[in-house]
Symmetry: C2
Subunit: 199 residues, 2 copies
Amino acid sequence: MDQETETTQTPSGEQDIILQAALKLFANKGYFNTSLLDIKEAANLQSLQIIHHHFKTKQLLASALYANVSDSLSISIDDISRRNPKASEQLRGIVDLLFTLTDDAPDVMRFILTVKINDFLHEEKIGLEAPAQNKIIKIIDAGIKAGEIRNICPQLAYAYFFGVIDNTLKLVLAGSLDKKADFYQAQAWLAAWNTIAKK
Amino acid sequence: MDQETETTQTPSGEQDIILQAALKLFANKGYFNTSLLDIKEAANLQSLQIIHHHFKTKQLLASALYANVSDSLSISIDDISRRNPKASEQLRGIVDLLFTLTDDAPDVMRFILTVKINDFLHEEKIGLEAPAQNKIIKIIDAGIKAGEIRNICPQLAYAYFFGVIDNTLKLVLAGSLDKKADFYQAQAWLAAWNTIAKK
DNA sequence: GTCTATATTTTGATAGAC
DNA sequence: GTCTATCAAAATATAGAC
């Protein structure tokens, strides 16, 4: 509603309204618990046909949504990487982004953290090959080579680090904590960073 | 198939066969991607009616499964707690249990870690009120009072700790690592414990 | 009492009228 | 080209026959 879209491509109006409605529903009820009828009503459309016109099928709608969010994340990560030389600073920037998103666009973060993309995406083995994840693993790899991060498997380091971060954000998104995400950021960053920092 | 059930109640044969088949399918394909027909065939039943006879509906079947796994975990945690006085030892025992389960009964762990129980369980707000989770949070709380664990919100400590553990196990279960879970246990324990340990 | 067959419902997708 | 109406498929649940 009041949150701006992250999509950098084709803000064609009707499509974005559908995508936003779908994002909200998928994020809160899940892919299978959301029908096209639900999306139609949430988007205030006059007919189901409009959805089929813009996105051929429900799967393609969800895939487009995933691509949007994924691209947007990738671009933000690239920006952060460009502005910060050290791996620790880059990771700090990414953490800041995620905590900010949690407060400002919780549905986007719910979609990222809780939706199982394999429910609608069947091409190859996605999940670990997600572009944003790949970029972060490369950052970690560089951090290891630079001596900032201890010498463990980058995938494991990723798992440790974002295990702490993601679980903290999930708690906030579930409404189990009484403060906004921002309040827990410094603490969580420290705990996460310590799992992978050298020395 | 070759793994023993954790269920302590009513091993009535046919029910258990259905539950095991459902567990495997739910764990690997998800709740909505598994039809009763799939379960019927995986369990080598002669008719769908048999499932409806034992469990009135698909939801109730899934709920029964969840209750079984949840109870079994709770009992194991109680055993561990009884045998170890210190919080750190209790958590260590729980971690050992989870890594062992990952190697010996991967489908059970997949069910625990990757199935969204809200897909079939709609009673109240479950998820954080899961009995096993509650027990662990109490252990953490005791650890804080005993000065073993630093003084943070127990829910946050739980999130940090099992963020590291669960993510590591998910990597193993996804087949992204080349060794068995056991190989990564000591490392993961240390990383997880350091996120909450005092000093 | 166990299985075959069917009914019902939901929902994704399409075809046709204005 | 947009909406109404319908179709088709799938899957859950039930009813009835042997």
